[in-house]
Symmetry: C2
Subunit: 87 residues, 2 copies
Amino acid sequence: MAEDKNKNRTTVEIYGQRYVIAGTEPSSHIHLVADKVDLKMREIQSHNRFLDSKQLAVLTAVNTMSEYIKIKEELKKLQQRIGKEES
Amino acid sequence: MAEDKNKNRTTVEIYGQRYVIAGTEPSSHIHLVADKVDLKMREIQSHNRFLDSKQLAVLTAVNTMSEYIKIKEELKKLQQRIGKEES
């Protein structure tokens, strides 16, 4: 973890609640991320109106993690392909 | 969205609550995803013991979305590099 003195603190609003996000990324990145999480929670809610906000947040995390794992695998394969071509 | 009849339904447990995840991915992928979300929620909780489970889930989604956006950008740059080399 980075030292606290090197961290930015960015306040965002997600699904009606404010969060202070500490990190080394620029505020513009944190705002982009927060907007996408908020949008995805609202998208999942529109298809599942009976879910509470905790369930929506968990399903948003699940959805995003699934995409992350798939794209990470895609990147790994591409890096391996380039490695083979360059060796 | 895929038709419901083509979807798998996988039951997972995340942070002590059960979720039924519908999707076209294999159950093994959904279990891997759920385990990673559960682990990340517990990791964030260990550093922020005052957060409730909804806040933990939102911050897990934020954390994962941030990594997703960064890796997607990395993949895009690599694809552009390959495109230039091959053209």
